[in-house]
């Protein structure tokens, strides 16, 4: 029988605690704005956040709210509500959770603090089908207008052709027009400036990554996932830059003192797939073996792959279009696979953990490709098992830990043989 023993992740860094505070403050701000009569946007998919910040728009993000609910182990109830509305278990748990929050008649106090109804929905099919469908139900339910941005998939690799950039930049302009039509004012000067801030943030993130590449690593993915919040939700803002500057400072100090997350670092792991948001302590679980999960693939969403030199503040929409389309999560596969192979090498990873969230249309499809590529290129093994990082009802603690035990033990055994 499945047991449900969950623990929060153990963070090691002061700055990630500060980021946690910034997240709470953000949601309080959204709630206040709504109470003050300001319109609120719901955003689905990886719509470049810079356009929202340039309008000072209060936004609820599909990628974030369910994760907050999940971290408080409340996701099951809301996912269930969406299932009662006819959404089968086959479709994304994030979307079911968000839909459940949207239709819930009474929300528990934690969600109540975060939840506001939408006045406009801005959705994009980047990176998956769920993003482009589930919002339609919410729009209907809340009788709310929406704008849909169509993102071409990436069939070009690292060089996105001008006609694709032009198309997505046009979609962004459409989103801006729609925002303006519904009471938001997008400040184009601020948008231009945000490109510089995004570039700066990315430069800092790369430096943060460089610190994490050192052995022992001063930061595991437990902090990394919280630290990715500014990367995903605050690009183009001074707050994002400031938080990363502080984080970098803290990490540099730890690197200098050779202070690792664990004392005797024996194994370095990477996580591919949705993290267990309701049980982040699972990352710490492997530490008893001297193993540390150094990095997660989700930390690269919305920002991991772009070349900052291609971002031009004079052309903000084109720059954002480029950044969005080249993102590793935008199918098809080459950027994702190359990026993971490169990360495995640079972070000196000994083993990759691939978790399959069955209701995700995107990430499980990469498992075999990534596994083969990292093995072929780097000789690094991957362990793949089922774990739905959001739907706590699906979680089986005993099996998940047994999977981790056997993988880590086999990695240690092979290290001993070397």
């Amino acid at each position: 029988m499945a047991t449900k023993v969950t623990t929060p992740g153990k963070k090691n860094l002061q700055t990630t605690l500060e980021i946690g505070k910034a997240i709470r403050a953000y949601y309080e701000g959204v709630k206040e704005a709504k109470s003050a009569g300001k319109p609120v946007i719901w955003s689905y998919g990886l719509v470049p956040r810079e356009i929202f910040h340039a309008a000072d728009a209060p936004v609820l993000y599909l990628e974030h709210l369910p994760l907050m609910i999940g971290a408080k182990q409340l996701s099951g109830r809301y996912i269930q509500l969406a299932e009662e509305e006819g959404f089968s278990r086959d479709v994304c748990a994030f979307h079911r959770c968000f839909l459940g929050c949207a239709v819930a008649k009474d929300r528990d106090p934690y969600l109540e603090k975060l939840f506001v109804s939408p006045d406009l929905i801005i959705a994009s099919n980047l990176p998956c089908m769920s993003e482009s469908k589930s919002f339609l139900y919410a729009a209907d339910h809340h009788n709310c207008p929406y704008y849909f941005l169509d993102a071409p998939i990436n069939t070009w690799g690292k060089d996105i052709p001008d006609y694709a950039i032009e198309y997505f930049a046009g979609q962004l302009q459409g989103a801006i027009d729609s925002m303006e039509e519904h009471g938001f004012k997008v400040d184009m000067d601020k948008l231009k400036e945000s490109i510089n801030l995004t570039k700066k943030m990315m430069g800092l993130w790369n430096e943060i990554d460089n610190c994490r590449k050192t052995v022992p690593t001063p930061m595991s993915t437990v902090d990394g996932i919280t630290a990715a919040y500014p990367l995903i939700q605050l690009p183009g803002t001074q707050l994002g830059v400031t938080l990363f500057e502080r984080l970098l400072e803290e990490l540099k100090e730890k690197v200098e003192k050779k202070q690792g997350v664990i004392e005797d670092e024996k194994l370095r792991l990477m996580w591919f797939g949705v993290p267990p948001f309701y049980n982040m302590g699972l990352f710490n679980y492997v530490e008893k073996y001297g193993a540390v999960v150094v990095k997660s693939m989700v930390e690269y969403i919305a920002g991991g792959a772009f070349d900052p030199s291609k971002m031009d503040p004079k052309k903000p929409l084109e720059s954002l279009a480029y950044k969005a389309l080249v993102d590793i999560v935008n199918p098809t596969y080459p950027n994702m696979v190359d990026f993971i192979v490169k990360a495995v090498e640079e972070f000196k990873i000994d083993g990759l953990i691939g978790v399959v969230k069955r209701s995700c249309g995107l990430l499980p499809g990469y498992m075999r490709l990534v596994k083969d590529a990292v093995y072929k290129d780097k000789g690094i093994p991957t362990s793949i098992f089922d774990l739905d990082g959001l739907d706590i009802r699906e979680y089986d603690d005993v099996t998940s830990k047994a999977n981790l035990d056997s993988f880590v033990e086999s990695l240690l055994a092979s290290k001993r043989r070397q």
Binding site: D90, C128, K133, P152, Y167, V356, M367
Partner: protein, 368 residues
């Protein structure tokens, strides 16, 4: 042999078509969606060949895909790994659902014998900037087809191909209209077989056969036509078994909205002096699939089918993990139910668990 039997024979033995086509050294290009512009392939002198699955259990593909990928795609990939598509000179996919995007990833990585190409079509309809983007993509695709075939595609040849394919669509629609009658002239399962055979065949052959068939059946009345009239929709159905099941339970499958049937022929290309532009607009001015936007358009189209075919009930057959239709059926359910009763069923592409399905379909038909 009557023409219906001829169609069934073609459906059962598509290899014959391939062999005949390849006799003169001509090439065959496989694809998997009505959004792949067959006319461009044809204008290059090649046979566009829609790939379908088989109900056989999956053997090799499950070690590549996780079980949560739609079974239809896993089945196609299994056939590809098994070299069952070895006769193809190329495979073409287009940007539709997550599963097809992964089929491209897998095919491109693991199937060496048949190269795979992805047409990057927008998912948003009626958007002028999307037309421009798609035109660029189609020009690339046209060049690829020219290189593959060694034939230049001229405006003239493309116009002729468009005409030919539109003729097939018109004829299929004419035949489909015979299902509007109180007692349809052709059953749902017969129609699916005919439609799929016509999709598989060179259109030069399909069109005269369809004309003959319309002539043969236009005064016909199917047996067992007193049951409720059903609209079938949902994921791809590439085998008449599910339709036969509904018919066996007493339903009359009056119309379907499947990509092996109505979706394929519902619209024809609008006249346009520039044939590439005609194709761009043809593909981006119809929201026939749940993958495309705006979905309101698809809802209107279902309404049209309900009205025109006098539908009493709707059945969604959704392949497990087929996200576009699993979402759509949940999104449309309440609204549709205000019009006609709607049943949503989850099916395996391999058609396992037919017994349980039968019970649910039977209960639904009795309720109607």
């Amino acid at each position: 042999m009557g023409t219906l039997e001829t169609m069934k024979d073609i459906f059962d033995n598509p290899n014959k078509i391939i062999e005949e086509w390849k006799k003169d050294g001509r090439k065959v290009v496989g694809h998997r969606c009505m959004y792949v512009p067959e006319e461009i392939i044809h204008a290059a002198g090649m046979l566009p060949y829609p790939t379908f699955g088989t109900p056989e259990p999956i053997k090799k593909a499950d070690s590549y895909f996780q079980p949560c990928a739609c079974e239809f795609v896993r089945n196609l990939f299994d056939l590809a790994l098994d070299k069952k598509f070895g006769f193809l000179d190329s495979m073409v996919l287009c940007n539709t659902c997550d599963a097809v995007r992964h089929l491209y990833n897998m095919w491109d990585t693991y199937v060496d014998s048949v190269p795979c190409y992805m047409v990057n079509n927008p998912q948003k309809m009626y958007d002028e900037s999307g037309f421009k983007f798609y035109r660029m993509e189609l020009e690339k695709f046209k060049k690829l087809m020219e290189d593959l075939s060694g034939n230049k595609i001229t405006d003239e040849s493309l116009k002729k191909s468009i005409e030919l394919y539109d003729e097939t669509r018109k004829l299929l629609k004419e035949l489909n209209d015979l299902r509007k009658r109180d007692i349809p002239a052709i059953s749902g399962s017969e129609f699916l077989v005919t439609s799929m055979a016509s999709m598989l065949m060179p259109k030069e052959k399909a069109n005269p056969l369809l004309r003959k068939l319309i002539d043969e059946v236009k005064n016909r009345e199917i047996k067992n036509a007193d049951g409720p009239r059903i609209l079938l929709t949902g994921s791809i159905i590439d085998n008449p078994t599910l339709i036969e099941l509904v018919e066996d339970m007493g339903g009359v499958v009056a119309v379907d909205d499947l990509c092996t049937s109505a979706k394929y022929f519902w619209y024809t290309t609008k006249p346009n002096n520039d044939p590439m532009d005609a194709i761009v607009r043809f593909n981006l001015e119809r929201t026939l699939c749940a993958c495309a936007h705006p979905s309101e358009d698809r809802y209107d189209y279902l309404q049209e089918l309900i009205r025109e075919f006098n539908v009493d009930g709707i059945i969604y057959f959704n392949i497990k993990y087929c996200h576009p239709f699993v979402y759509e059926s949940a999104i449309f359910r309440k609204k549709l139910e205000e019009e006609v009763p709607t049943l949503t069923l989850e099916v395996d592409h391999s058609l396992s668990g037919l017994g349980q399905l039968k019970t649910r379909v039977q209960a639904f038909i009795e309720m109607l």
